[in-house]
């Protein structure tokens, strides 16, 4: 029997449909359907100037808009051959890690609500507010920041912001201990997570799954370490990985990443050099191609931009990590029960905005 989970279902964060074929309670086949949120962003970008595209790439992912507009700016910088000033690189590292924490907290809150734990939802959204406020003080907006620019960032950090950032890290580390008690102290949470939705390492690599689901399967692959961009090569942090490959490992990898993000924010804010934070980008890009890859909170994001000598991109290709991960959904699901679907798919941190583009 085929069951439609979605397009409007509490499990589907965003608008997508998961069709599962069941034999009794056991899942024998699954088929994800995406495309409900298609806005044609790649095509819209073709008739905007390079500057005007930045706010649109913010709208790719509501959970981590900073990392997507940053990725776009990096790809255009690659096309134009621009060098970003060191201060801008450190600011970018700090805001990207704040965005990673905010994104993971939103996932954690939604995951807790999926698994019927309302306290986790409220706590997660409460602490996300700290980082959203911090980003608002810096950029002027709460969700769609429009902060990175081609050749730097739009403006300098306000006075006192660095102290706020350090205080937020201290606060976050206290709260992370609290989460570990609340989540892992809950018998129901552990029963629904441990040993559920196992993805083996070889399978994860063959399917192209990246980000926390891949690192939870035992592969130590993190673009921040393997192909360092911005100032990540000067930061001291570890790649978080587990070997189990189940839902609990994915949860644990994200929690560990939040610890590491706090470490990176501290280093980036304390080491931040003085100087320019932006260079003037040329109006017209040369004919050629530019490509950039970054470690998004959800996996490996890539943008490929083609310039034809005018002030507009000829083509913009977006590689979404979640599009690949959701395509691998049958491998996660087959063999488990219907009740596990919510835990497995919720644990993947779906973001349909970038998936459907």
């Amino acid at each position: 029997m085929w069951i439609n989970m979605g397009p409007q279902h509490p499990m589907t964060h965003g608008l997508w449909n998961l069709r599962i074929k069941v034999d009794g309670e056991t899942i024998v086949d699954a088929e994800p359907e995406v495309g409900y949120l298609h806005r044609g962003i790649e095509k819209i970008c073709e008739n905007r100037t390079f500057t005007q595209v930045i706010p649109i790439t913010d709208r790719l992912c509501y959970g981590s808009s900073m990392s997507w507009s940053h990725l776009y700016c990096r790809s255009v910088e690659d096309l134009m051959g621009l060098e970003v000033p060191p201060r801008a690189q450190y600011i970018r590292v700090a805001v990207l890690e704040m965005q990673r924490i905010a994104s993971h907290l939103m996932w954690l809150a939604a995951y807790a609500a999926d698994l019927g734990m309302m306290a986790g939802f409220i706590y997660g959204m409460r602490d996300r507010e700290v980082f959203v406020d911090l980003l608002q003080d810096l950029t002027g907006s709460r969700l769609t920041y429009n902060y990175p620019r081609v050749g730097g960032v739009s403006h300098d950090v306000p006075p006192g912001w660095d102290k706020d950032a350090l205080r937020a890290c201290d606060y976050m580390e206290q709260r992370l201990r609290e989460y570990e008690d609340i989540y892992e102290g809950s018998k129901i949470f552990m029963m629904r997570n441990v040993g559920v939705g196992v993805l083996k390492r070889d399978l994860a690599m063959n399917l192209g799954v990246t980000g926390p689901p891949m690192r939870a399967s035992g592969a130590k692959y993190d673009l921040r370490k393997d192909r360092p961009y911005e100032a990540y090569d000067e930061m001291d942090f570890q790649v978080c990985s587990r070997t189990e490959g189940d839902c609990f490992a994915r949860y644990r990898v994200r929690m560990d990443e939040m610890w590491e993000s706090c470490r990176i924010i501290r280093q980036a804010v304390q080491k931040m050099p003085k100087g320019e934070w932006r260079v003037v980008a040329p109006r017209n890009a040369p004919a050629g191609t530019g490509v950039a890859m970054v470690e998004d909170p959800r996996g490996e994001g890539m943008m490929y931009v083609v310039g034809d000598g005018t002030d507009r991109p000829y083509r913009l290709k977006i590689r979404s990590p979640i599009f690949v991960t959701v395509s691998a959904a049958p491998q996660f699901l087959v063999g488990y029960k219907i009740a596990d679907v919510v835990a497995i798919m919720g644990g993947l941190d779906m973001c349909i905005g970038e998936n459907d583009r």
Binding site: T49, Q52, A119, Y123, N146, P158, M190, P282
Partner: protein, 304 residues
């Protein structure tokens, strides 16, 4: 820590540990009076200065160039012709908040820092027409500079060609070697051209100029590269439409030697007027290009 790493957890451990955490929060918010929310209509959050809310426009600083209209990704701004008792006939931008995405590019690109975004965020309305704010609705002449931090200013040398004699003293004085003397076609003399990317704003060229043709003018630093007009002297008819259209006073008309018509009796007539550009002040709005009927101004990347 995972269950396996922490060892076996008893039933009471599973119940008491989470309860201790949630109980702490309960005491904090109920007894100690530190709630995490605000009672919105009565209490309001303090918004940062950089917050992007409703627009505000300083009529006296605005020059009506329309760069905000050009850069808007959603085409939600337009220029409106107005009759102001103080300022005369002017053009000022209006904004349609129903289509605005609050990216803040209009305020960022403004060459005179006249357009800003306030912290006002309560912008809900009853019908779509109420979102269309004309220039008078967003006018606030005291706002700019009083609340938001302005961009840094930079002094650049600007040339008055009618006084310049082509003595090359400025080029010799420049510490950055950014002034090049280029010869003007058919005129038979040289004029200094300043490379603004290298200029360090020390003002030595203006100080040394014997005719006071070079003066230092303060302009706001811009982070956007705007298109610049290219002038074709042969096609210019000297009508002066571009000089009247220019909002930033970049173009002025000058009698150019070498353009005289030879009269029937062999004498030369009066020299004709030709447009002269002070590109250091140019904001790249493209109005001169749009208004020129003789295709004497080229602007790559701008369509008419």
């Amino acid at each position: 820590m995972a269950e396996a790493e922490r060892g076996k957890v008893s039933f009471f451990g599973y119940v008491l540990r989470p309860m201790m955490r949630t109980g702490k929060q309960l005491v904090r918010s109920l007894v100690l009076g530190k709630p995490n929310t605000v009672l919105y209509p009565h209490q309001k959050l303090v918004l940062p200065q950089v917050y992007r809310g409703k627009h505000t426009l300083d009529f006296k600083k605005c020059i009506g160039c329309g760069n905000c209209v050009t850069i808007c990704p959603n085409d939600c701004m337009w220029l409106e012709k107005l009759e102001d008792p103080e300022l005369g006939k002017i053009e000022r931008p209006g904004v349609d908040l129903g289509r605005c995405l609050f990216c803040g590019f209009c305020a960022e690109v403004c060459p005179t820092c006249a357009l800003h975004m306030t912290t006002e965020f309560e912008l809900a309305g009853g019908d779509r027409e109420s979102f269309k704010l004309g220039p008078k609705d967003i006018r606030d002449d005291g706002f700019a500079g009083s609340f938001k931090e302005e961009r840094t200013k930079r002094a650049v040398p600007t040339l008055d060609l009618s006084k310049c004699t082509g003595c090359e003293k400025c080029a010799g004085e420049c510490p950055e070697m950014c002034i090049a003397m280029i010869s003007m076609d058919k005129v038979g003399r040289k004029k200094p051209e300043i490379n603004l990317a290298k200029c360090s704003s020390q003002g030595k060229c203006a100080a040394v100029c014997p005719e006071k043709a070079l003066t230092m003018t303060e302009v706001y630093e811009s982070y956007f590269e705007m298109p610049q007009p290219k002038f074709v002297l042969e096609s210019c008819s000297g009508c002066g439409a571009c000089a009247r259209a220019c909002p930033a006073e970049v173009i002025y008309m000058l009698e150019m030697p070498g353009t005289e018509k030879t009269l029937k009796d062999g004498k030369k007539g009066k020299p004709k007027k030709r447009a002269v550009f002070v590109l250091e002040k140019c904001v790249g709005c493209g109005r001169c290009f749009k208004v020129c009927k003789f295709e004497a101004i080229e602007m790559p990347g701008v369509s008419k």
